[in-house]
């Protein structure tokens, strides 16, 4: 079993009337890239701040490397944070910013110079030592913030939506860079984000949070391909959910009958409870669009619908289809350049493999404020 770097044991945090974090229990392994993913207000940042020491839990204990740090002051904890706003010291140069933590720890002067140099090389900013933060672009400030935290070689690096202020191209580039840096330094990264692509691209494991609780925890593939709840399914991408009822189930396969009468086959292990009313879903890239005149291949799930809209987005085509009961369904098809695009209004058949079908527990609908960043 791997060493555990961060352990939270039934941690709750109450702000006046609001429960920001609710009985959260979590273990993060040494060297892991772990993401807390969720909409704004889900408690992910509060969780991070409790580990950093900026908030004290109302209940529960927090352990870093086995040591109880629940009430320890931030400056005594061997963790460092990359803040969303970067929080660089505006009156200090890049060098002095990065050296700040080392100097507080009374590291020797020559050692400071060497380690700051290494950290700036790691984030690809050598030669920027004497600039002030205001003379840097957003992406460069982000790198300085990263260097300033990493130079201290913390046990855990906490990252609070560090890429949120960057534009799309730069964000994608920094995602790869962050992953590279984490591989290089081998430090445990705890990453907070509301961007599902970001979390999936970089993480070893993801915890999807909502209303202060973890809804699902697992590898990106597991969370994406087999979401446990309606909320997780919807938060990680388009999910094409349909209401149905469990009809019968043998050892390996179960049949679910939709309201419209179509029968959908799912792997039996995806049914995790005795409920008969369920929601089944399938990811849009798993669906093949066929003309409804083609013969139906055996062993595939199939439903029919009418194409409402086809959108060209370069790498792919996105189709919106009015499915059974006029429910809108989404299908993605890679833009291979050879496909024939059906025209809006045409009847189409959507087929996918039973093993790509998932079954979720229903969630309350998203509140207004959850849309906001």
């Amino acid at each position: 079993m791997a060493d555990i770097d961060v352990r939270m044991d039934q941690v709750s945090k109450q702000f006046a009337e609001v429960t920001a974090v609710d009985e959260l229990t979590l273990e993060i392994d040494r060297g892991e890239f772990f993401s807390l993913l969720g909409p704004s207000g889900c408690g992910k940042t509060t969780t991070l701040r409790m580990i950093g020491g900026f908030e004290e839990p109302s209940r529960g204990r927090i352990y870093l490397g086995g040591k109880d740090v629940t009430t320890m002051a931030p400056y005594r904890r061997n963790v460092n944070t990359v803040f969303q706003s970067y929080a660089l010291f505006p009156h200090l140069t890049v060098f002095d910013n990065v050296a700040f933590g080392l100097r507080r720890k009374k590291v020797q002067k020559t050692e400071v110079g060497r380690r700051v140099g290494d950290a700036l090389r790691l984030v690809d900013l050598p030669g920027f030592e004497r600039r002030k933060p205001s003379q840097l672009s957003g992406g460069q400030q982000q790198r300085v913030a990263l260097a300033r935290a990493l130079v201290n070689e913390p046990q855990v690096l906490l990252l609070d939506e560090p890429l949120g202020a960057l534009d799309l191209k730069l964000r994608k580039q920094m995602q790869l860079e962050l992953k590279r840096i984490q591989n290089e330094v081998g430090i445990t990264f705890l990453y907070v984000t509301h961007d599902q692509d970001e979390a999936m691209t970089m993480s070893n494991r993801i915890a999807v949070m909502r209303h202060g609780r973890i809804e699902q925890i697992g590898a990106p593939e597991d969370v994406y391909e087999a979401p446990a709840t309606e909320f997780v399914a919807g938060f990680l991408g388009a999910s094409n959910l349909l209401d149905g009822e469990v009809k019968d189930s043998d050892g390996s396969r179960a049949t679910i009958r939709l309201r419209t009468g179509d029968a959908i086959t799912v792997p039996a292990e995806r049914l995790d409870g005795p409920e008969r009313k369920v929601k089944v879903g399938v990811r849009p890239e798993k669906i093949k669009l066929e003309q409804d005149s083609e013969p139906l291949a055996g062993g595939w799930n199939a439903i029919e619908g009418t194409l409402r809209m086809a959108t060209y987005v370069g790498v792919s085509h996105q189709f919106t289809i009015d499915g059974p009961g006029d429910r809108p369904l989404t299908v993605y098809a890679q833009n291979l350049g050879a496909e024939t695009i059906p025209a809006p209004g045409q009847r189409v058949r959507l087929v996918w493999r039973p093993e790509h079908t998932f079954v979720v527990r229903p969630s309350e609908p998203l509140a207004d404020w959850e849309e906001e960043t």
Partner: protein
């Protein structure tokens, strides 16, 4: 804009200054009238006669400014960082005393600190203080009065500069192993320096020219240059001497402001106007 802007400065700044300059070089008296005789000797006389009061004003204003920093920094700090949702209420309460007119405030203090007033009277009657003890007419009273009266001019810019400090920068310092003292010394104080500079400017300049505190709370040994100007002007009708003194004072202050602004690179002033 060069025109209206220039006109503004001409009428409200240059005209008074030039007029003062002209008066300061005249000779004559109130009965026979004054004439411009380019009498630069007035300046020599003014300095010879009143350099004591001038230096005293400099001293009082400097000490009072220092006192306002020491008193208002903790207040501004507390309100900015610990005031929470009631920040503006606290600030309002802090400034409330200063909504009351300058003179009334100072008069009330004179009442209170008088030799047989509410504080010293009982203490003397109970022989806790010698009969000769007094607060009024000492330099302490004048400096305290100035510091008290100009406190808001220091407290407000300090508050603004502290309030503007990004909280996450403070957290970053804590995160990077700085304890409370180091957080203050390395981050909060350096970032509040523009506020200190602006506050010094706004406190020192009026304190130098002040005469109300000295005349109400002070005595003959605490006369400031402002009192002298008023005396020479309104009582003695020595207009040229009064003008020369005013001119010297103004020149010293303006020179000081420009040097000061230069040193700051005008940045911190810009941030606070």
């Amino acid at each position: 804009m060069v025109l209206p802007g220039g006109a503004w400065l001409f009428v409200f700044f240059l005209v008074p200054i030039l007029f003062l300059a002209s008066v300061s070089l005249q000779t004559g008296n109130i009965f026979d009238g004054f004439r411009l005789t380019w009498h630069f000797r007035n300046y020599v006389d003014a300095v010879q006669l009143y350099h004591v009061q001038f230096l005293r004003s400099l001293r009082y204003a400097s000490i009072a400014t220092a006192v306002t920093i020491v008193v208002s920094y903790p207040l501004a700090y507390w309100i900015a960082f610990r005031g929470g949702r009631h920040k503006t209420t606290f600030l309002f309460l802090l400034l409330l005393p200063f909504f009351v007119s300058f003179v009334i405030r100072t008069l009330a203090w004179q009442f209170i600190l008088a030799d047989d007033g509410i504080v010293l009277g009982p203490l003397k009657r109970w022989h806790l203080l010698p009969q000769s003890f007094h607060v009024l007419a000492t330099s302490t009273a004048v400096i305290a009065g100035i510091a008290y009266n100009f406190l808001p001019f220091m407290a407000l810019p300090l508050y603004v500069s502290l309030e503007r400090i990004d909280r996450s920068v403070v957290e970053a310092a804590q995160d990077l192993y700085a304890n409370k003292l180091e957080v203050f010394r390395r981050v909060i104080f350096p970032l509040s320096i523009p506020g200190v500079f602006a506050g010094v400017l706004l406190t020192f300049v009026p304190a130098m020219g002040d005469y109300v505190n000295a005349s109400i709370l002070g005595g003959t040994k605490t006369t400031m240059i402002g009192n002298i100007i008023q005396l020479e002007y309104l009582t003695n009708f020595h207009y040229p001497i009064a003008a020369a003194l005013s001119f010297i004072l103004m020149a010293v202050l303006l020179l000081g402001i420009f040097v000061y602004a230069r040193v700051l690179g005008t940045r911190s002033i810009e941030e606070y106007v």
